[in-house]
């Protein structure tokens, strides 16, 4: 992590809705010296690359992984049971660090799955791993010129990483008139590469270029060798700029198949539960002009395409006054770069004269929370569950003919037949969809590294997930949040999303005594819709990368297939906050609630106190309380009269940020030191043997001379090897010692969830009793 200057460093936001004044106060209590060296967020285990990034179904492939904060990796896990991995072992049967043999079942469906590792700190962040049907290869030698072009058979996939300021060259044999598709998967498999794909002649002179989608559909004009060039749009490179280049025959003239890709965060709300995969009808062109409007009856479920450029799809239907219809369009959520727009107009005719009256203009699915601006500082989550797609309603004012237009606000000049959409017009079907992500903190300098965080808890630690609801068709009720399937010693408290609101929290906490473990958890929301209990899953989102500077790198969030949770005992949370007693705290409506809190501090902290605030509807208006550093207790006081908290059951939690003196994996120093001493001893032993043999050889009789000299030479080589191992061990000691040097790290610390019951006030209860 980078070191930051004070002025860049002013800790600005612990949470996105914290008032500035409070933050400034927080900043002021931090001694300047501590501020200068602060880092953000305790280290989280992250799996960053796998090479290759996928494989063919029914094969086994050796995968090399890399990541950060991952030591003692024990397992490589996948989000499907169809992919399994075991460590690669050396001749002695010892696991080779960072290498796994991955077996992909023959019946593993084509798709992108999540790979994670289990390591010292627990479950890592995920990296995309693709399963395909084509044979695969991995590039091993540089291919940065026509002369060194890697020969790629048609119908294969090559896994490679891009080098900075380089162009990768491939060559294939094209047959005249035989269509091939070149498809470079990058963003869709978590890569930072923005691929440029070029087809060139055998000498490398460009023929066709694609810089916006990574795909070229090519019909060779003649038999011969063709060159495929791949580079990054701005010639960036490095191990994080990986790609999978597929070259395949395409029959017919339909769209070329693309490689599978990860799912956008906006797709949490698509498809609606139980929705059919294909539409019951399709739009038919021409339907651009009012006179060409395609007649439909409501409700309807149509598929269509924003094609050709400036396409308008117009539908006509008749409707009755007072009817309310809900419209949903999916296109961006299908992963397409579109911005659908719907216009509903009433048509009235006087003779030949037609008058159109606007009934509704429907634009985007708005985010329930403000997304962070792209400015220097961070003022919201970097992604959200909103979408440029459409989800809204219109009310019919008069009986009669109406028209509905669908267009792509980005489609004025684009001729892309693949830009399709699904249009649904229906009577209200109230429902909701949920998405969640870890709550973060950041600095003013654009650091977004904290936004890539797995649910890997430290014993005694807790983590907050922000849960967002996309409410559909007027559903306005309360949503109860929950999480199950957690590892032993870990509990989760769902802070409900109140009626009419769209944001809630889930707090996951690990006991201080929790043993290392991991499990696949499930998150869901429960609500009553039209008198029925409905449960909907909640999907987890995160950024694909720890972004150090959002100004230079666009954050790329996505959804994940599952929700693994782990707890580690290798490290404990530097600070644990709990209620002094494990119980349901009761308080009458309008009364005062005092909750004594307990704090356990592990290690050193900067500053004088931690300002605690509360999560939980009805309680989050609490005035900040002070938890002095190293104090083992404090008390939270709620004035329910002022907070106007109505009777009911609540879950709340306390949170604040603190700067801990953190030492990364100090145990590794001892282990490394021991290894170094061992290597040194070994080297000394070998050296003395070699010396002896050399002396012996020098004094050997003539007939033994050659034999002895040979033995001496072997010993000398062994000595060199041992010295290299010794140097390596010494370097390792230095590396782990540097990493273990105490650093100031600021993080959010959250209490375990606390349950509260607000009872009706005695008078109110009495009044109720009388009745």
């Amino acid at each position: 992590m980078q070191r930051l200057h004070y002025k860049d460093f002013l800790l600005l936001a612990m949470l996105n809705r914290t008032p500035l004044s409070a933050l400034l106060a927080l900043a002021m209590i931090l001694p300047a010296a501590a501020v200068n060296a602060q880092l953000v967020v305790l280290p989280a285990p992250r799996l960053l690359t796998t090479m290759p990034m996928g494989g063919q179904a029914g094969t086994a492939v050796e995968v090399t992984i890399s990541g950060e904060n991952i030591e003692n990796v024990t397992e490589l896990l996948f989000s499907t049971p169809k992919i399994t991995a075991k460590p690669v072992t050396d001749a002695q049967g010892k696991a080779v660090e960072g290498k796994f043999l991955v077996t992909i079942a023959a019946d593993a469906p084509v798709g992108v799955y999540d790979a994670r590792v289990l390591s010292r700190l627990g479950i890592s962040s995920a990296r995309a791993f693709s399963v395909g049907t084509l044979p695969e290869l991995t590039r091993t030698a540089p291919n940065n010129s026509v002369e060194t072009a890697l020969k790629l058979p048609v119908n294969s996939i090559c896994n490679a990483t891009m080098t900075k300021r380089a162009v990768d060259f491939y060559a294939f044999e094209g047959k005249k008139g035989r269509r091939v598709a070149v498809d470079c998967a990058a963003a869709g498999i978590d890569s930072k590469l923005t691929p440029v794909v070029i087809i060139a002649d055998a000498k490398g002179a460009d023929l066709l270029v694609n810089r916006t989608g990574g795909v070229i559909d090519f019909i060779p004009p003649a038999d011969g060798t063709y060159v495929v060039k791949v580079n990054d749009l701005t010639y960036q490179g490095g191990e994080r700029h990986f790609y999978r280049l597929a070259l395949r025959d395409v029959a017919g003239d339909g769209p070329a198949p693309r490689q599978p890709s990860t799912t956008l965060v906006s797709a949490v709300s698509w498809p609606p539960p139980g929705f059919p995969d294909t539409a019951s009808a399709a739009e038919t062109e021409p339907n651009n002009r009012p006179a060409e409007a395609q007649k439909i009856t409501l409700p309807c479920d149509l598929s269509g395409s924003f094609f050709p450029a400036a396409d308008v799809d117009t539908f006509e239907f008749s409707a009755k006054k007072g009817d309310i219809w809900w419209v949903e369009v999916a296109s961006e959520r299908l992963g397409l770069p579109t911005d659908p727009f719907v216009l509903v107009q009433q048509v009235t005719k006087t003779g030949d004269q037609e008058t159109l009256t606007d009934v509704a203009e429907l634009y985007d699915i708005n985010s329930p929370v403000k997304v962070s601006s792209n400015g220097y500082s961070y003022d919201g989550p970097p992604y959200d569950v909103g979408s440029p797609d459409v989800l809204g309603k219109f009310e019919i004012k008069e009986d009669g003919a109406h028209r509905l237009q669908v267009r792509d606000l980005f489609g004025g000049t684009r001729n892309v037949p693949e830009n399709s959409y699904r249009l649904i017009v229906r009577k209200a079907a109230p429902d909701f969809a949920l998405g969640a992500w870890a709550v973060h903190m950041t600095l003013r300098n654009g650091d977004r590294a904290a936004f890539s965080k797995p649910i890997a808890l430290r014993a005694g630690g807790a983590m907050v997930l922000e849960v967002l609801a996309v409410r559909r068709d007027g559903f306005d009720g309360e949503i109860e949040l929950g999480m199950e399937g957690l590892p032993a010693g870990v509990t989760a408290g769902g802070l409900k999303i109140p009626a009419g609101k769209s944001v809630g929290h889930v707090i996951i906490s690990a006991d201080s005594t929790a043993k290392a473990g991991s499990a696949l958890a499930r998150m869901s929301g429960r609500a009553k819709i039209d008198g029925k209990d409905v449960t909907r899953p909640c999907r987890l989102a995160s950024m694909a990368w720890p972004v150090k500077d959002a100004k230079q790198e666009i954050p790329s969030p996505r959804l994940f297939d599952d929700i693994p949770v782990s707890v580690t005992e290798a490290e404990a949370s530097p600070l644990t906050i709990t209620a002094a007693e494990e119980k349901v705290w009761e308080v009458p409506q309008g009364g005062a609630l005092k909750i004594p809190l307990k704090a356990v501090w592990r290690g050193e902290f900067s500053g004088t106190s931690v300002k605690l605030k509360a999560y939980g509807t009805g309680f989050d208006g609490m005035k900040e309380i002070d938890l002095p550093v190293k104090a083992n207790a404090t008390e939270a006081v709620f004035d329910l009269a002022a907070l106007k908290t109505p009777p009911g059951d609540y879950t709340i939690a306390f949170y604040g940020s603190a700067v801990a003196k953190y030492s990364y994996n100090p145990d590794a120093v001892k282990a490394a030191e021991a290894a170094r001493i061992k290597a040194e001893a070994e080297a000394a032993k070998i050296a003395s043997e070699a010396k002896k043999l050399a002396g012996d050889a020098a004094n050997a009789p003539a007939d033994k001379k050659s034999e002895m000299a040979n033995a001496a030479k072997i010993a000398a080589d062994k000595q060199k090897q041992a010295e290299a191992l010794m140097a390596e061990a010494a370097k390792k000691v230095k590396d782990v010692t540097d990493a273990a040097a105490p650093k100031d790290i600021v993080d959010i610390f959250v209490s375990a969830p606390i349950r509260v019951t607000v009872k009706p006030a005695p008078e109110a209860a009495a009044v109720t009793a009388k009745k």
């Binding site: 380089a166 010639y235 666009i554």
Partner: protein
């Protein structure tokens, strides 16, 4: 009857007499009531009172007295003269004592000096107007309808004069001689001058020149053809219509064209102009060996098919489209936009389609790179001004604040054009400073800042089309541009491209096409535009037709008559190589490589995506590579400077290239090739031709001389040879033959 004059002095004396002759061109002549607009404003205009540097200075005017520019807002001017300052500027009881007159005659000290002497016609008109109580005139007064200049077209010899007569025609059918009150300006001052009184004097240069005549907001043109009158003799056989029009004009003006250039010159010239690079040694040798009579056409086609063509023209276009790096984070947008332009040129996307993609861009830059133009050009006013200048060759800037002084465009026209951009919607993206662009539904209109009235979109000279709230007006603007009869779009492009190849546009400046600035060969411009439209806006076809013409292939060496010609294309006008081309040329000659950040090694300067490289490579800055700040090609500095000469002779950058390890000097000195071969290789690489016998012997002697080190001590033979080759390369790259495309 036009008097003839022997000398300019005699002429001026006579003219002065003519002007002071009472009655000529004055308001008083008819005895009809004086009218502020018809009679007073022209006096103020002629006397420069309402010029931009005097009382029409924007916002402030001059010392509290403000007039509208060139009198385009007479009602305001009337208010300011008659009523402002409690009426102190005019004094009807004693008109001579009016501040307006005291100042203009410099009787009371006037910052602008003496503008109207008491004896002048203008002064007398003002006196009469004030004494009559400063009438504004009535609604029923005749209004000026047209002005006419006589003669309107004339063939004049060099160094002769011609007095013009300007007549104003009014709505009531009357007319008046306004010669003395009109303003005159030649469009090429090196060819003709005009006195304030309307007497035109041709200078030494033959060709076509126009004099713009302005009076009371109207314009007219006097076109002059100045023949040299030399015998034209036999002309090369025309290769296409370009030659027919150019040679016809040369015949008319009597300027004989030079001969067609030799093959070596042609290959070097056309490679530089189409691909922005010198021909390679292999290409030179191959071209020499070909005997096909169509070899020049084949060379043109091969250059047009190469990615170098796309790189070179993308470099030209992206600078004009302001692909400017202002922040490190702009790199993605800039690379994407540059590459988009380059890929479109490579695929030979029709020009109208490319412009449509830019004008109608929506979405994000990465998914639709022309959106980048909207990142650089954010305001609707800037958008219309850039579009008009770049794609239509019309400069609309003036019309934002006042009626265009040389054009028919009013403020209304300006805002009507701007209204096409009124529904451009923006939403912020994850990248600071970068919006995504969409069409915002609604009625397109903008407010005319002057009148406060709403203006609907209308293209230049067009009635407003019907645009529904759902329709993106920008697409209609693109439709209009691409119309077969659009009077601007095709003409602007072919003129721009003509200039690219011939150094000078048929209209100059190339993006200021207007009636008052006619082309030097209007028929040719029309024919080129027609050819372009009929080709389906095929840019490569424009390049092909130009480079195939004999006109393009004429030698740069003038004959005994045509050296003086600078606008009739009687010979090729040599051009200094552009900064990027020159840098690449030096790299090719020395076999050194310039390294550019964020780009693969070996990337050439003409393929640089934006201006950010001008900072890292001082060479590019010194030789005038533009910063992408302006829509005008003039941002590229093509003039020579001392800094350029010093840079070529002495800079560490150039020296480094000469001494480049494994560069040409290094290689030739180590290789076992005869010196003559080395010399030949250098000449072929630099000039595309073999050295002459004399050049051989000079170079051989030069290379044979032993070199010494800085201390004057002889160096070893190998090093001496390398230094000698470096010196030879240094000398070659400092020659005009190398630095120029000729």
């Amino acid at each position: 009857m036009i008097p003839k004059f022997r000398s300019l002095t005699a002429l001026l004396i006579t003219v002065a007499a003519l002007v002071s002759e009472p009655g000529r061109g004055t308001a008083a002549e008819s005895g009809r009531p004086i009218n502020f607009v018809n009679d007073i404003v022209p006096v103020l205009t002629k006397a420069d009172c309402n010029s931009g540097s005097c009382h029409a200075k924007a916002i402030t005017g001059q010392r509290g007295f403000r007039l509208s520019l060139l009198g385009f807002e007479p009602e305001e001017d009337y208010e300011h003269i008659v009523k402002e300052g409690r009426g102190r500027r005019v004094f009807p009881p004693a008109p001579d004592q009016s501040l307006l007159l005291l100042k203009s005659a410099n009787i009371v000290p006037h910052g602008g000096g003496k503008k109207l002497g008491p004896e002048s016609e203008g002064y007398q008109t003002l006196v009469r107007w004030i004494s009559e109580g400063m009438p504004y005139g009535s609604e029923t007064d005749p209004k000026i309808a047209a002005i006419e200049v006589q003669p309107s077209r004339l063939t004049m010899k060099v160094n002769t004069t011609q007095a013009l007569k300007v007549t104003a025609h009014y709505s009531d059918g009357s007319s008046r001689d306004v010669t003395g009150m009109a303003l005159y300006e030649a469009n090429d001052k090196s060819m003709a001058g005009v006195t304030r009184e309307g007497v035109v004097q041709t200078l030494d240069i033959p060709g076509n020149v126009a004099v713009m005549v302005r009076y009371s907001g109207l314009v007219s043109v006097f076109s002059i053809s100045i023949p040299l009158g030399a015998p034209v003799g036999e002309l090369p056989a025309p290769s296409n219509f370009i030659d027919e029009f150019v040679f016809a004009n040369l015949k008319v003006i009597g300027v004989p064209p030079s001969a067609v250039c030799d093959d070596a010159t042609f290959l070097r010239r056309v490679s530089l102009d189409i691909a922005g690079r010198l021909p390679t040694l292999e290409e030179v040798k191959a071209f020499q060996a070909v005997t096909d009579p169509k070899k020049r056409e084949l060379a043109i086609d091969s250059l047009l098919a190469s990615p170098d063509y796309a790189d070179y023209f993308a470099n030209k276009w992206t600078a004009l489209l302001k692909n400017k790096r202002e922040d490190a984070a702009d790199i993605t947008a800039n690379f994407a936009f540059h590459a988009w332009m380059r890929d479109n040129l490579l695929a030979n996307q029709p020009y109208d389609q490319m412009v449509r993609q830019i004008l109608g861009a929506t979405g994000t830059i990465v998914s639709n790179p022309p959106v980048a133009w909207y990142k650089r050009v954010k305001e609707p006013n800037q958008q219309l001004e850039d579009v008009a200048q770049l794609f239509l060759g019309v400069r609309m800037q003036c019309a934002q604040c006042h009626h265009h002084p040389f054009e028919r465009w009013s403020q209304h026209d300006y805002y009507a054009l701007s209204a096409f951009f009124s529904q451009v919607g923006r939403k912020p993206t994850a990248i600071a400073g970068e919006d995504l662009i969409f069409h915002k539904r609604g009625l397109a209109e903008v407010e005319n800042k002057k009148t406060g009235k709403k203006v609907r979109p209308a293209a230049l000279g067009q009635t407003p089309p019907e645009i529904l709230p759902d329709e993106d007006p920008r697409l209609q603007l693109a439709d209009w541009m691409a119309g077969k009869d659009n009077p601007f779009f095709a003409k602007a492009l072919v003129n721009r491209y003509w200039k690219h190849f011939f150094k000078r546009g048929l209209v100059e400046p190339e993006d200021d096409i207007r009636d008052t600035n006619p082309a030097t060969n209007p028929e040719l411009l029309e024919a080129l535009a027609k050819h372009f439209v009929e080709s389906g806006f095929d840019l490569k076809a424009v390049v092909r037709v130009i480079t195939r013409s004999r006109t393009y292939q004429l030698s740069a060496m003038p004959n005994e008559f045509n050296a003086i010609d600078s606008q009739n294309f009687s010979h090729f006008y040599p051009k200094r190589l552009q900064a990027e081309v020159l840098l690449d040329g030096i790299d090719l000659l020395t076999q050194a490589k310039t390294d550019f950040a964020d780009l693969p090694p070996g990337t050439r300067a003409i393929a640089l995506p934006d201006n950010s490289y001008n900072r890292a490579a001082p060479f590019l800055k010194v030789f005038g590579r533009p910063e992408g700040a302006s829509v005008c090609e003039c941002e590229r500095v093509q003039s020579s400077s001392l800094a350029q000469s010093l840079h070529l002779m002495n800079s560490a950058e150039v020296k480094g290239k000469l001494a480049f390890a494994s560069g040409r000097a290094d290689r030739l000195s180590k290789a076992d090739v005869p010196v003559a071969e080395g010399i030949k290789e250098i000449y072929l690489s630099a000039f595309g031709r073999e050295p002459s016998g004399e050049e051989y012997s000079i170079a051989e002697d030069f290379l044979a001389k032993p070199r010494t080190d800085a201390a004057g001590k002889p160096v070893d033979a190998l090093r001496s040879k390398r230094l000698a080759y470096e010196d030879l390369l240094w000398a070659i790259l400092n020659t005009k033959e190398f630095l120029y495309n000729h």
